[in-house]
Amino acid sequence: MNNNSKFSVEDLDLFYGDFQALKKINMEIQEKEITALIGPSGCGKSTFLKTLNRMNDLVEGVTIKGKISLDGKDIFKEMDAISLRTRVGMVFQQPNPFPMSIYDNVAYGPRIHGITKKSVLDEIVERSLRQAAIWDEVKDKLKKSALAISGGQQQRLCIARTLAIEPEVILMDEPTSALDPISTLKIEDLAVELKKDYTIIMVTHNMQQAARISDKTAFFLVGEVVEFDSTENIFNNPKDIRTEEYITGRFG
């Protein structure tokens, strides 16, 4: 096993009832890198991502086999879901701020985890919003509803909200698919900036995006990882014909 491995996935199978959504996934995800997950719709990217912070536990009828470890610790056997999720944050496809003020959105996580002191919360809120490159845009309206800002701003707010719980890994499920090109570029820049401190795993349907910002890319097809390699190799030198077909857009 590689020393810098953050997540190590071994022979992961996942079933929704009888339907097998993930088949024998093996993957080493490196610390402080951006790993992109690509593949056609329905191939299991979101399912895989949600397995990494055990959000699939909330879905009825899910069975999981195999092993996933975070820093060498089994996330199913040696950790509870709550402490796992404070270490592995998640940003969803649709921006989903709570219907509360911007401030309360960012403070939600810290409050859940027992921080009540106003000065500490203030500091966390400001730091997280700065890290998510949205502080300047919202600093004068922290008490305003988070639903009243633009979709791109909402998504960066959701990233700030995730950063506020100081995770080590950030999972992003098509974080820019609902956004305009300028907001998309902002989020991409942000991801590159964040990778200095965080491990990022990002699902994307946008090939250019994967090529631009990721270090490693995994290509999924009907529940399997066809190819997992450096982004450079995947895009310039794919070993599997199916990968090549997919990235060049010739796929089915």
């Binding site: 999720r85 969803f92 709570f98 939600y108 859940i112 639903l147």
Partner: protein, 306 residues
């Protein structure tokens, strides 16, 4: 080929006429409710304000601030009834809202399917039970128990009213809170769990705040139901002829009871003052409806922002 065009059919030719007729049928159906409301308002208000005008006018101040209702002494004070109605309603809300809300949360978020399958029909049945049955139950079960433990001789009391009203508003509170909780987008819950919140934390910090307008509407509707309830409360209230209820053991005489008990035989000014009592009740209900409209329109605009 000889095609018969659909346009030749009689139904098509008549359709425009049919549309017009149906429009008027719909319109007149809709007008019935408007006309009913207007008729009731004109009638009740018209009769209800008459006793305060003319040669033998009854003092409005005495009516609204009076602490005794004694038609035989020509004394008609309803302040103690207003107080009784409001205090009983308050009591029912204080008991009914927490119980109803917890039930709704339980059904929406925690209950296994099997338990939900028992709870929901039970609640629907509770909503369908006629008022008089609640009264019978109150009189047969609740009042005797209260009589045993009360420092006063009678079991008919404000406490009995509160308990009966609580049972009666529970279905309203539960079903409305439940639908507002169910309407919360799953994405809010995902966000909360994703931040490492437990189920209970998610319920109290995320779900209930997000559902608060709907819950508030449920509470207001519950207040309306409680303040307007007549038959059941009349049977358990004791309906004293004077004095503000100072403790839950005291008898009380809700505004609704007053009208329902005496309207049958009253005449003259006495009867008109019963209409006046109805007007006061009506004003309370209108205020409650106004608040409800304000709250629900706010719910609507929050929805649009999503």
């Amino acid at each position: 080929m000889n095609k018969t065009s659909i346009k030749d059919s009689i139904a098509f030719k008549n359709r425009e006429g049919n549309e017009k007729i149906f429009k008027y049928i719909f319109l007149s159906a809709a007008l019935i409710s408007v006309i009913s409301v207007i008729a009731i308002i004109v009638f009740v208000f018209g009769k209800g304000i008459r006793p305060f005008f003319g040669d033998d006018a009854y003092s409005f101040t005495n009516f609204i601030t009076g602490l005794r209702w004694a038609p035989s002494d020509n004394e008609f004070g309803i302040f103690y009834m207003i107080a009784g109605s409001l205090l009983s309603t308050l009591g029912a809300i204080v008991l009914g809202v927490p119980v109803g809300l917890l039930t709704a949360v339980y059904i929406a978020e925690l209950a296994p399917k099997k338990i939900e399958a028992i709870l929901r029909p039970a609640i629907e049945l509770l909503a369908g039970i006629p008022s008089v049955i609640f009264g019978v139950f109150g009189l047969g079960i609740i009042v005797p128990i209260i009589k045993d433990i009360s420092p006063q001789q009678s079991g008919q009391s404000m406490l009995a009213v509160i308990l009966v009203l609580t049972m009666m508003i529970l279905p309203t509170i539960i079903s409305l809170s439940l639908s507002s909780i169910r309407a919360i987008p799953k994405s809010y819950k995902d966000a909360s769990y994703g931040l490492g919140a437990s189920k209970i934390q998610t319920i109290f910090k995320c779900i209930l705040p997000a559902a608060k307008s709907g819950i508030l509407a449920a509470v207001v509707l519950g207040i309306g139901r409680a303040i307007g309830e007549t038959t059941a409360v009349m049977m358990v209230a004791g309906n004293n002829s004077g004095g503000i209820p100072l403790s839950i053991w005291d008898k009380t005489r809700p505004l609704t009871s007053n009208v329902a008990m005496e309207m049958g035989y009253a005449s003259g000014q006495h009867q008109e003052l019963l209409f006046s009592t109805g007007v006061v009740l009506f004003i309370f209900i209108m205020v409650i409806n106004y608040v409800l409209i304000k709250i629900t329109s706010k719910v609507g605009s929050e929805g649009e922002k999503r």
